[in-house]
Amino acid sequence: MDYLAVQLFNGLVNGSYYALLSLGLAVIFGMMRVVNFAHGAFYMLGAFIAYALLQQAGIGFWPSLVIAPLVIAAAGMLLERVLLRRLTGLDPLYGFLFTFGLTLLIQDAMRLRFGLQGQPYPTPGELAGTVAFGSVTYPVYRLFVVGFCLAASVAVWFVIERTRLGMVVRAATERADLTRAFGVDVDRWVTPMFGFGLALAALAGVLAAPMRNVSPLMGSELIILTFAVVVIGGMGSIAGAIVAGFLVGALSSVIAIFDPAVEGIVAFALMAVLLLVRPSGLFGSVETR
């Protein structure tokens, strides 16, 4: 029973990362119709920025949690303005291919510089150690990750679903032309929203640094798993991204109790089942191309 609880929590920790990453993907896709393959690469860069700040300048975890997303957001907005913007209006496959190429470039450039060896990153002092629940002990940092990601996800959900700003973004997502006709400058929001989506990826990267080794390939397999999560949740659905993220994480870990070998394929199997019974995803509605 204790083991089940621990595994369930481990699953929620993994799910936190899925949720934050698929949330960023959903925001970017909603605004620009670009499936950002490079999301995993920016997650990795976020972790590396935290690592570099600590090594080079002695700047710790908490400031990094703010600095890394800001740096990545700025870089992303520049990227959107200079290059990605040229692909507006083309088949979404070109955006996908562009970000795929970008992923290879970033990943291998980092590999050239840092090698494949993972770099350790210390757990911040305030969150070190474990906490006991009855007979179960659990690392404080992991609890923090779940709590933080949950709070961040809910905050993003709130902004997009319940505020005036979110209303503009949602309107632009669903009917860009019509929104323009109402006098809203849709294009003004594209660049910041792309930056915001990438900032979420970088945030997840910083959060991952103390738990997983910081390495150039840390985002490469995560991104494909996140795609499965996004298909399960329903692309473009904010709530779907969050729920599917935690669901896939928890389910994978619990199933791993019975057979650790199948943990890696749970997300894909779940995706296959969903495609059979509900192709548009848990929270997806009408298919948008």
Binding site: L90, F96, L104, L105, D108, R111, A228, F268
Partner: protein, 322 residues
């Protein structure tokens, strides 16, 4: 059907180029171009003519490699039988995966194919006793009674007919009534449906045919390397073949072979540089970005244009001074 002069010429040029290739570049690279060219054609069949971007074709290339390797090493099958076993394996796998993936359209379809290919990568890694895990499936023999297929050059010429059959099959599919329906689905699925075509069925058949051709390429490649590895199933492989296809030009079919040739020769040329050996993605990624931003038409149409313009100028030249 009476073959036209044009298609006969195409076949003749193809066979001639295929025979001459290993005399120009070394045979191992020639075989690679042959196999990747067919792989890219398979992707183009689906993407250029069906409008479906599969980012998971590594699954069929890789699974066919493993199945062919297994048939050759464990069952002692001569090489053509091993290749056919690989093709059958890839096609059989494509039926359920294609059916599931095609329940989504557009970019979602792409993500689903990518995810399924990744699932197979995990499965192959877990099935270590059979696949050899990270060590790969090694020591694949290639045999044909009465012939020695040891040297790379011999195997190249043994593989050539099978690959050419693959090229021709792709060409026939695209130029058949089936191919025309496929193009109409790409351009306007609702209209094709209204005309009475069961578009889901057409797309699934196209998917399975494409997977079978990718399998043919993968099986030949694995036998040529005497080795099937997890890398064949990796997502970078799926990306690389799409790169070749787009580089050659979507919807041109032969562009796939051109794209594969240009890409592999570029890689061969650059492999002496340290950067490329340690981090090939730096070059591959850059090529990808450049193509998407500035060369979306691909090489084949661009080259065809140049040839056309040059020949027109050659005709007009005598009339001009200088």
């Amino acid at each position: 059907m009476k073959p036209s002069l044009r298609s006969l010429a195409v076949v003749a040029i193809m066979i001639g180029a295929g025979i001459a290739l290993p005399r120009v570049i070394y045979p191992v690279l020639a075989l690679e171009i042959l196999a990747w060219g067919l792989f890219a054609m398979a992707v183009d069949l689906l993407l250029g003519f069906g409008g479906l971007l599969s980012f998971g074709h590594a699954a069929y290339w890789g699974v066919a490699g493993y199945v062919a390797g297994f048939a050759a090493r464990e069952a002692g099958a001569p090489y053509p039988i091993a290749v056919l076993a690989g093709v059958a394996g890839a096609a059989a796998l494509a039926v359920p995966l294609g059916y599931l993936s095609l329940r989504r359209t557009g970019i979602y379809f792409t993500m689903v194919t990518l995810a399924f290919a990744q699932m197979l990568y995990y499965v192959a890694n877990e099935l270590r006793p059979i696949t050899g895990g990270e060590n790969g499936f090694q020591g694949i023999p290639r045999t044909l009674p009465g012939l020695s297929l040891g040297p790379s050059l011999s195997f190249y010429y043994a593989a050539l007919p099978l690959v050419l059959v693959g090229y021709l099959a792709a060409y026939r599919i695209v130029h058949s009534p089936f191919g025309h329906v496929l193009v109409s689905i790409r351009d306007n699925e609702a209209r094709a449906q209204a005309l009475g075509y069961d578009t889901g069925r057409y797309k699934l058949i196209a998917f399975v045919l494409s997977a079978a051709l990718a399998g043919l390429a993968g099986a030949v490649y694995a036998l040529g390397e005497r080795f099937a590895s997890l890398e064949m199933l990796h997502w970078t492989t799926s990306g690389q073949v799409v790169l070749m296809t787009v580089l050659g030009g979507l919807g041109t079919l032969w562009g796939g072979v051109l794209g594969a040739g240009v890409f592999l020769m570029l890689r061969d040329f650059l492999s002496t540089a340290d950067v490329f050996r340690d981090a090939p993605g730096v070059v591959t990624g850059t090529v990808f970005i450049v193509i998407v931003l500035g060369l979306r038409r691909g090489l084949w149409p661009t080259v065809a244009d140049l040839v056309r313009r040059a020949s027109r100028r050659a005709v007009r030249a005598p009339g001009r001074a200088g």
